[in-house]
Symmetry: C2
Subunit: 264 residues, 2 copies
């Protein structure tokens, strides 16, 4: 089992921030990444539809003999994780549990703000996961639908990004949250803007870091005999566009992205 | 044939601005609207993928015995119209030709700016259609990927919308365009902001108006014996959300939206 690759997927590009953290933590593992660019985004869609897309990807990853599936998408983790675990023979890890755990550990004043897509916020998945670890925590949820297109447009350091972030962060500031969960894989790319607006006393939780550690823990001794650090990337639409943007997000050149249409 | 409904589709909600113009122009016609909310947006996707989605919708509309299919989505009109005409038994009308015609008639200084999604701009469909009518026209294309999420977030009158519009319109202003095509069905909702930034001497072309007239011309005398002004709406995801937003965009309460999964 050790030499099998780890499967990882997202609705599109955002999950590459998780892949980057995973490769840093586990440099000898082989990875197969799937970006569902034909159906992106997931964040404004229903549980039923996001589960249908996610299950099709998981089925494909299982045909690639992965030893573990990492759901590197907050929306899919929030809406589809239980159903994926029911359907898959392979273990499935999401990003919500590790993110919630990190937030519960970080807060001092017991006030945590959760930023996410509309669907993630509606699911209350982070809120439930934080409460399991810290029943007394006071929580505020905020959907930030414009953050993803800002990042995809590469506008994360523009005045427009700052103005939009100000609007979305206002409730968290009034709430005096000392810990803010970046509950969508695109949001860490806005970290410089968010950190500046929130101030240095606020912890920004990037689930990528804790997810990478959760994967390492899950693998345990299996990682001793792991692969060669090989990366294979699939996208369900326009591999050329994906390749261009992926190189930027991974911070390393991507030589090839393969096109794979899903059976939905 | 006259009593058959008119089919109309878009990747999501935007096409409702076209439907609104059509119903105003043709109050006795029956309409079946399909919003592909499971696969929205189309504007960042490839020709192949947009054509696959559009063809699946057209097949569904043909099962509903429509007499005409209106592609109320600029991206689908730009990328998939020829293929739809090849596959469908029903006549198919898009929004690009009527929009290009209106722009060619409106310009005085022969300088036309085309605003659209990434995919529409990349296809050059508006540019080709304008040049067919006005070979000497000088054209500038500008992709505006943040406009759709701004409208969907209902932020079209905020300072953030104004700041983003300023960035996207700067090239058109430098180009001294006297005519600007709103080449995406969401953009007319930003008209107040765009008109203010461009000034009163610039013509804003909303293809919805000219498309409605093109449909009327196509129907000719057939409209004399047409339907009862009945409207049936389908969405491929989350009909409750669609209903809420559709009522706002149509400016009239929508009593029911039916869920219809596509066979893709």
């Amino acid at each position: 089992m050790a030499k099998q690759p780890i499967g990882i997927f997202d609705s599109g590009l955002g999950g590459l921030t998780i892949l980057k953290a995973l490769r840093r933590q586990l440099p000898h593992e082989d990875f197969i990444y799937f970006g569902d660019t034909a159906n992106v985004p997931y964040g404004s869609k229903s549980k039923q539809t996001v589960t249908r897309f996610s299950a099709a990807i998981a089925r494909f990853l299982e045909t690639q003999q992965v030893k573990l599936i990492v759901v590197a998408c907050n929306t899919a983790s929030a809406l589809a994780l239980n159903e994926l675990r029911r359907q898959c023979h392979t273990p499935v890890l999401g990003v919500i549990e590790p993110g919630a755990q990190a937030a519960a550990l970080a807060t001092q004043n017991n006030r945590i703000a959760i930023l996410g897509t509309e669907a993630t916020v509606r699911s209350k998945a982070y809120a439930k996961a934080v409460r399991k670890r810290k029943p007394t925590a006071r929580l505020l949820q905020q959907a930030c639908p414009l953050f993803v297109p800002l990042v995809e447009e590469n506008w994360s350091r523009t005045p427009a990004a700052c103005q939009i972030a100000q609007i979305y962060l206002a409730p968290a500031k009034r709430f005096r949250a000392d810990t803010v969960i970046l509950g969508c894989t695109h949001y860490p790319i806005l970290k410089p803007v968010l950190a500046k607006l929130l101030g240095k006393d606020v912890h920004l939780i990037d689930p990528a870091q804790t997810t990478a550690r959760a994967v390492e823990t899950f693998l345990g001794s299996a990682k001793e005999n792991s692969g060669k650090g090989k990366l294979t990337i699939y996208a369900s639409d326009d591999p050329a566009r994906f390749k261009r943007l992926a190189s930027r997000l991974l911070g390393t050149p991507v030589s090839r992205v393969r096109l794979k249409k899903l059976n939905i």
